[in-house]
Symmetry: C2
Subunit: 220 residues, 2 copies
Amino acid sequence: MTTELTRPLASAPPPRSGKREKTKIQNRQLILEAAKSVFAELGYGATTVRDIIRATPLASGTFYNYFKSKEEVFQAIQDDSALRIRPRLRAERVRASSIEEFISGTFRTFFQYVADDQGNFRAIRRNRSDAMRVRMDTPEIIAGFEELREDIETAISKGLFPPVDSDFLMASIVGVAFEIAERMLAREDIDPPAAADFATALFMGGVRTLPHRKTSPGAA
Amino acid sequence: MTTELTRPLASAPPPRSGKREKTKIQNRQLILEAAKSVFAELGYGATTVRDIIRATPLASGTFYNYFKSKEEVFQAIQDDSALRIRPRLRAERVRASSIEEFISGTFRTFFQYVADDQGNFRAIRRNRSDAMRVRMDTPEIIAGFEELREDIETAISKGLFPPVDSDFLMASIVGVAFEIAERMLAREDIDPPAAADFATALFMGGVRTLPHRKTSPGAA
DNA sequence: GCAAAAGTTGACGGCCCGTCACGAACCTTT
DNA sequence: AAAGGTTCGTGACGGGCCGTCAACTTTTGC
């Protein structure tokens, strides 16, 4: 504890590129990959840290050199996903010069991403064999929500949006995006543009301007 | 399953109102109440079955006479909640003679219920001290979603709604309802009618018809 | 009352948790 | 290149929770 070293230069920043750094990165990746596969197999709830390390050549103790718990692994996986899409969504919104572009750009980008990234999005959302549906928002994802709110504020101050409750509007966009994404993935033909069109029409003009369906109603 | 009646007596239905039935109901309630309180205290994730029975005069083995796991207790609590609001929501929708009534009735009823029922709604939604947000939909809740979809279908066939994708529309309503509910509860002044007005305006006319905010923008 | 049925109890084996002392692998210094 | 220092992987360990079950207690039907 007592750091009473003579300290000639003490802790020089160790940006080594030696073998140590290499295996560290590798081990971390090993654990993440194993976790993804095990989560997909057993579901998040049923998975134990032991299951994850067992799917790895490492020892149990090693796991804890990299993550504190399975929650943290989960977060790392999800945050990774969030980190990849956030810039794209943000770019889409910054570029927008109308409400319509803002809304449709956001939805198109999001649904397309979800469809491409089903592995990370879908598998994790099953708690176990329970019929219960689960959605977990990691800090990085929540930060993405906040970013959306800020972009809405900016859009309002630029006169793009009317001065509405940006918190509720953000919540509405998020809610529609996630909930429709789930239905979209449950379908035989996954059609991100169709999902985006639906959501965009809802936000642009309400229920009455929603696209009409092609299939005749009443069909089971 | 085999309903072979004839049976002179055999397993006569035991609708006793004896002491046995009474303590059975009581024990179940004891466990449910304890679970609610413990979930609220520790968060769902961190709670163990032992924590629940410890908050009870019962022995550990008894727990398993009533529930298979903490998941099942959780479901029982949530389903209880869902069972209370579903009829109200349904009544509201059946009574509706216009899109506007259908939508606004649904949201008003839902947000009012959430505000009244914070105990069951709020406490459970914290996973633990983690920053992660969690939402879990039990079978009863999911059945409520399906009921909404059916009511939308009925409304379409009655000409109340245009022939839209009822699945996506249901998803949108659900997403907006849950997500706004969460923001609403996070605020100092919980105002269900305001939340309902916002959501209704969104579905009736889109972003451009959303209520304008009173507080001047730009304030931190 | 009494015997069978129903329900409760808590101890038990099995598993998972997170830690930690140890030793091996690596890196630095001379 | 050898020694010394540091970092990190390893697996065994105590503690706790899980779900079960044989023994016991209470209620019920007669």
